[in-house]
Every structure is written in C-alpha cells, then in structure tokens.
C-alpha cells in the first residue's frame, strides 16, 4: 500500500512537472492497436473473448457517444437519447449515421397511411446494447444470400485489418502462413495519412474494410478491399462545402460480395455498376446543376451526393482529390475517369431515405416551393413524408435548399438529366 501510494504520487508529480504528453491513437489507426478496448482475457461475456454481448455493440462503445452535439470524427451513430421526434441524427460521415435506422415516419398520402420504417434506411446491423435489431423486411441481403440475422459491423469491416497497402499504386497484401508482409504503421484512409514506406511499412486499407478470404456468415469475400481515400475532416456538415470521398476502384465488386445480383456482372438487367460513364452520362454529369439548369461545367460539377469512381488506384491522385474542402469541386475530366458504383446512389451505413439512397426518390420533388418539404411548413404530405424540414435538410447533410431548384426532382438526374 505504501509503495503504491508513493508510485501514484510520483506519477502525479511527474504529470504536473512534465505534462502528460502522449499520442492518442484510436483502437485501430489503420489496424489493431488496443486489445483491451474490446477483449477481456479472463472475464469475457461472449465469444472471441469480447466484453460485450455482440460485436457491433463492442464497436459502438466508441463509435457512438451520447455527448455528441454534432458531427464528431469517427462516430457513426447518434445516441438514441438524442433521436426524439423531429430530431435528426447528428453524424455526417460519408457512410452515413446508423441512427436513421431508428427514425420511422408515418404520413398519409391520398388517403393512404404510409409507414416508412426506419429499418428501410440502410444496413441493419445487430447491436443489442444499442437497440439495433435485425431487418424484419429482408431475411437475406437484397440480391444475395447473406443472412440478415448475421449482419454486424464486422460483416464488412475487418476490425483487425489484415489487408494493407504497401505502395502508392495500390498494391494490397495481407499476412499468410509462410509469408512476410510489412506491418501497418498508420491509417491509410485519409488524404493526410502518411504513405507506406517501400519494403518497410504499410498503411491500413480504407476503413479497415474486409477483403479476400474474410468470412461473413455464409459469404466469403473473393475481392480485395476497394481503393478509397477520404478527407481527414470527413465527418462534417456540407452546408458550405463538400466532403470528397475519392473513390478509386473496386467498390462495386466489393459490395457484390453480398449483393451479387445487383451487379452488372450478374448478367441480370440492373442499373449499371462498375461501368464507365457513357458519353451522355459524362456530359450530363458535368452540365447538370439542378432541375432545369444544365449550365454547369467540369471545373465545379462534382457532387458528393452522386460520387463516382475514377477507375484507378493511383493514391497520389486519390489523395489530391480527397484534399478538396471547397464547395465547388471538379467533376470528371473525361468519361474514362468516371465509373458508376453502388455508392453513387447509396450510402454504406444508412441515410435519411428508404433503401439507403442518398436522396428521396419516392415522390416527384426533393424540394417544394423553394423549401425542404416538411410537416412544419405546409408542404404536401407526399413530399414531406412525415419529416420536418430540418430533418429533410439534415438528410442532405445540411445543404442549403438553394443548392437545388425550387422544385427539384430526383437526383438521379445528375447523371440522366431528364428534368
């Protein structure tokens, strides 16, 4: 006891004199870092020596914080205590806020009561301790066979991050028996991330996404993780700027692991995925500003509401694109550097709209009479769809309504320009 008291005093004195210093790495800065953040060696509560009831709850211990008052770094879920009626989820990460899964809306259109369940807004991870439960609409992944009852954060993310990038051209490797690969020194997700050092260190793949060999329920990944870089300030409002996820390549094929029938390669008649813009779409994308306005040009045509892949894994290019923080950013300079992918229309986690789409698509207008339609501003119910105007704006990441036309039609028109 005496010794303990002395050692505590020494620590305290040192802290006063020297300052505590130190670097705060999150648990996985590119790869696994802090075992005690998730595992209990001698008092586990569930399989894999986890100290929580399920994997997703373990993740949300850090990736959701009831203290949040707005977008906050690596947080991907808004605490339920802040999701009362009229309160929109707070996070603005490119993947989206899982809190939208808890926002259900009821409204009457033409005499018919519509119940829009929150679970339709994205991927229903199962996190019992955070009240996220299984999708009751889809027992399996749409266009696939992955069982919804198994969906968790680690269905898509490898929390230990086996895969890593070893150079700027996008070479990805992972450890295997009998093989040596460079250790992960830091995250590789951000435009500001340190680069791998050839022959010495690697960086983590984007968002610790799983890759070839990763087993999720009855599905085994047979593609490498996609190539993406995001701005280091990725979780922020887009009221005055846009957040650029620089998608390189591989996203469509990666999503097709669980949603194979949604991919062009399935041979089924579906919206193109992993397909280069044709000349018409390329022209439309750069010209489209808003409904009725095709006066745009390539230098400022990019919209984070309809991103695309560049079709390459050149990380120097990706990091440059991801570094943009202004509102007006360049779109594709040629059709060959624009590839449509799943995330051109969907967000990976959840959105404020059905089917995890980036925009509302179930009625004619996204905006109405120059306003975001809401139950609180007299907009017709078919456009307000049970939401307040503030909730609708939050679902568009706080974009001013003037970014759109007074009567803005579906943002599918960013590529198809039918309005």
């Amino acid at each position: 006891m005496k010794g303990m008291k002395a050692s505590v005093a020494i620590v305290a004195a040192a802290s006063l004199l020297i300052g505590l210093g130190g670097v705060a790495y999150a648990f996985h800065s590119g790869g696994v870092a802090e075992c005690e953040g998730c595992h209990s060696m001698h008092n586990p509560m569930s399989g894999a020596l986890l100290t929580k009831s399920d994997a997703s709850s373990t993740c949300l211990n850090c990736h959701e914080n009831p203290n949040d008052t707005g977008p906050s770094s690596y947080h991907v879920s808004t605490a339920e205590a802040k999701l009362g009626a009229g309160q929109a989820p707070l996070q603005r990460s490119p993947g989206g806020d899982f809190g939208w899964l808890k926002k259900s809306y009821t409204f009457t259109v033409r005499g018919t009561v519509n119940n829009e369940a929150g679970q339709t807004h994205g991927h229903n991870i199962i996190a019992k301790d955070y009240n996220y439960s299984v999708d009751t609409d889809f027992s399996q992944a749409p266009g696939g066979s992955f069982n919804s009852s198994s969906l968790s954060c680690i269905s898509c993310h490898d929390q230990h991050s086996a895969w890593r990038r070893t150079d700027m051209s996008g070479t990805l490797v992972k450890p295997e028996i009998g093989k040596a690969v460079p250790p992960i020194a830091n995250s590789g997700s951000y435009h500001s991330s340190a680069d791998p050092i050839s022959g010495s260190t690697a960086v983590g793949v984007f968002r610790l996404l799983a890759g070839k060999g990763w087993v999720a329920d009855n599905v085994t990944f047979d593609v490498e993780p996609p190539h993406v870089v995001v701005n280091s300030s990725y979780n922020r409002t887009e009221a005055t700027s846009q957040v650029r996820d620089a998608y390189g390549k591989g996203m469509g094929e990666w999503c097709a692991t669980c949603h194979p029938d949604m991919h062009t390669n399935s041979g089924r008649l579906v919206h193109p995925v992993t397909q280069q813009f044709n000349d018409t779409v390329f022209t439309n994308y750069n010209a489209y500003v808003k409904s009725g306005d095709l006066t745009g040009d390539q230098t400022k045509s990019y919209s984070s509401l309809a991103p695309y892949e560049i079709g390459a894994s050149d990380y120097a290019v990706l990091k440059t694109q991801a570094s943009y923080t202004v509102k007006q950013q360049p779109g594709p300079a040629s059709a060959s550097e624009a590839v449509v992918m799943c995330l051109s229309c969907h967000r990976a986690h959840a959105t404020g709209w059905p089917d995890g789409l980036r925009w509302m698509y179930q009625a004619e207008f996204m905006t109405y009479n120059g306003m975001y339609p809401g139950t609180d501003n007299g907009a017709p119910a078919q456009f307000a769809r049970g939401r307040t105007a503030a909730e609708a704006q939050a679902a568009y990441y706080d974009r001013p309504v003037t970014d759109f036309a007074n009567y803005q039609r579906m943002f599918c028109n960013k590529c198809h320009a039918k309005d």
Partner: protein, 315 residues
C-alpha cells in the same frame, strides 16, 4: 423435538425465500453497493437509453433528460412530472439546477448553443448570456453543463475545451485539454472527453476512453490522472462517466465491462461492483453516474435499461 425441528425448517425455508427476493450486496474494499431500484413510472422502469441525469439533492429530486424531454423523479425514484421541448426551437443537451431550484438548460438552435433558466415546470424565465469569451474558446460547442459553487462549467467533449463562468455567464477561465495534456492537434477530434463532472472542491473530473485514463484538473490548472488499460478489476476497458461520493472517492463506470469502479482520493483502486447482464442490479453500457446527498448512486445504462439506483455504504 419435532416442534423444534419443524420451527428450524420453517426458519430455513423463510431464509431461503427471503434470499430469493433480495439482491445480494457486493462488498469489497470497505464499500458496499446495494441495488435499490430503477427510476420508474406507473408502467415500471422507464426505458431510458443512456440519458443525461442531474440530482437536485436539496429538493430530493432527480432530473432525467431523454429525447428532448425531462422527467422529474421523487426521492423514491418515481416520476412525478414531465415536460418536453420542441426540437425545432431547442435541442436540449444537458441540464442542471441552481440554488433557487431553477432549471438551467443547455440547448442548441442549429449549431448555436445557449443556456437558459427555466422554472420547475420547464418554462423559460430568461437566458444566461455567456460573455467575455476569448477567441480561442469562441467556437465552443458544449455538451455538458455543470453548476458548482455558483459557477457554470461548460465542457465541449469533442473539441476538449472547458469554459468556466460565473453564475451570470461571464467568462472566468478556459481550459484547452489538448494543450493541458500535450496531445497533438490532429488528435483533438479523435480523442475527446468521455465523462465529465465537477467535484465539491471545484476540481474538474473527466475521462478519456481512448487513453484509458481519468483525470482531476484543479481550478489552478494542476492535472493528475489515473487508470491503465485492462480487463482486470480496477483497470479500464472503456472508461465512461466519473463522479465523487461523500468521502471524496472517485466512482468511474466501465462501459465495456458493465461495472462501477471505486478509487480513493489518491487514485488507489478500492472496489468495483456490477456485472454485465439483464438481472436487477446488472449494468449494460453504463455511460454516466451521479451521487445524491443520501449515499445513493444513479447509473445510466444502454439497451433501454434506464437508470439504476444503488446505495453505497462504507465500513
């Protein structure tokens, strides 16, 4: 003889039955924790999910903020009143009570916060303007509001800054914890404060889960810390809220383990209680905790398990 045996059997059965209805106390390190009840209404446990709570010890009332509504509970843990705020005018983030019994509310309109004073029914009386704030703290977006010894403490958990004002909102002190802790600026938003409180002596108490540490920051800026990573008793997996008891001990939740840990004023580990589970007295995701003036500890939980109340007793 037979009557004596019968009497002993009856006593034994009675003892066994009484044990079935009592939650056993956890006793270690001279501190005993008895689970009492959950905050309830006439439907049973109110299914709060990680709410904010404030204890008004002077009036023996507990305020619980959840989904922009405030529940008021009496000394027996029963809800006696409730009021709510319209989210389009106010998103309420935290609340506390002043010496007159008025409720001070930290709320947001869009990205702008304000502190307002309300009566006991939650009706607006006036606003407290936060003034004379230096530029380096002007972008504060506080998530926590504490009133102690006539001062207001506004803590921005994400940017790791604390502003202290007088009771009228005039700036007195500011603390940038990134500088105090000598962290890198680029780590500011990915570090963050987890739990925050102010003890009766005006020391600011906070935890940082990614550093596996708890801290005591005195009004004159002296900083001390304790805690180390691990799953053994007394070590931190994911440290959560922090509070002090009437003996000056520090009570800290561990969100991952589902326990409350007790450390003395010299940061020596005394005991921990609770266990992850769904039985009465178990804890799931305990994020925050507060002591009242009668030795009762209120612990918030996830999975809609509401607020559990324990009585602490000391040897």
């Amino acid at each position: 003889m037979n009557r004596r045996i019968t009497y002993c059997c009856v006593l034994a059965v009675a003892a066994a039955l009484s044990g079935a209805f009592l939650v056993p106390a956890d006793v270690w390190g001279g501190v005993t924790a008895h689970y009492l009840y959950n905050l309830s209404d006439f439907n049973g446990t109110v299914p709060y999910d990680s709410p904010r709570i404030f204890i008004d010890s002077d009036r023996s009332e507990v305020y619980v903020l959840h989904m922009n509504a405030v529940g008021v509970f009496n000394d027996a843990g029963m809800e006696i009143f409730r009021f709510s705020y319209e989210p389009d005018t106010n998103t309420v983030t935290d609340l506390t009570v002043d010496e007159q019994g008025d409720i001070l509310v930290l709320s947001y309109q869009g990205p702008y916060y304000r502190v307002v004073r309300c009566n006991f029914r939650g009706e607006l009386k006036d606003a407290i303007a936060i003034t004379d704030v230096p530029k380096e703290f002007s972008s504060l977006m506080p998530s926590r509001l504490v009133r102690r010894m006539g001062k207001l403490y506004l803590a921005d958990a994400n940017s790791m800054k604390i502003v202290v004002t007088d009771g009228n909102g005039r700036f007195l002190q500011g603390f940038d914890l990134v500088q105090v802790l000598q962290l890198r600026e680029q780590d500011r938003n990915s570090t963050g404060i987890t739990g925050f409180n102010v003890d009766p002596e005006g020391n600011m108490l906070f935890t940082i889960s990614v550093l596996f540490s708890a801290y005591r920051l005195s009004p004159d800026g002296a900083l001390e810390s304790f805690g180390q990573p691990g799953s053994a008793p007394g070590k931190f997996n994911i440290v959560g809220g922090i509070a002090t008891d009437r003996r000056g001990n520090y009570l800290v939740t561990d969100v991952l383990k589902g326990v409350v840990m007790v450390f003395d004023r010299d940061f020596r580990f005394l005991t921990q209680f609770g266990t992850y589970g769904t039985k009465p007295g178990d804890l799931i995701g305990p994020k925050d905790l507060h002591m009242d003036g009668q030795g009762r500890l209120y612990v918030t939980q996830g999975r809609k398990r509401g607020v559990s109340v324990f009585r602490l007793a000391y040897d």
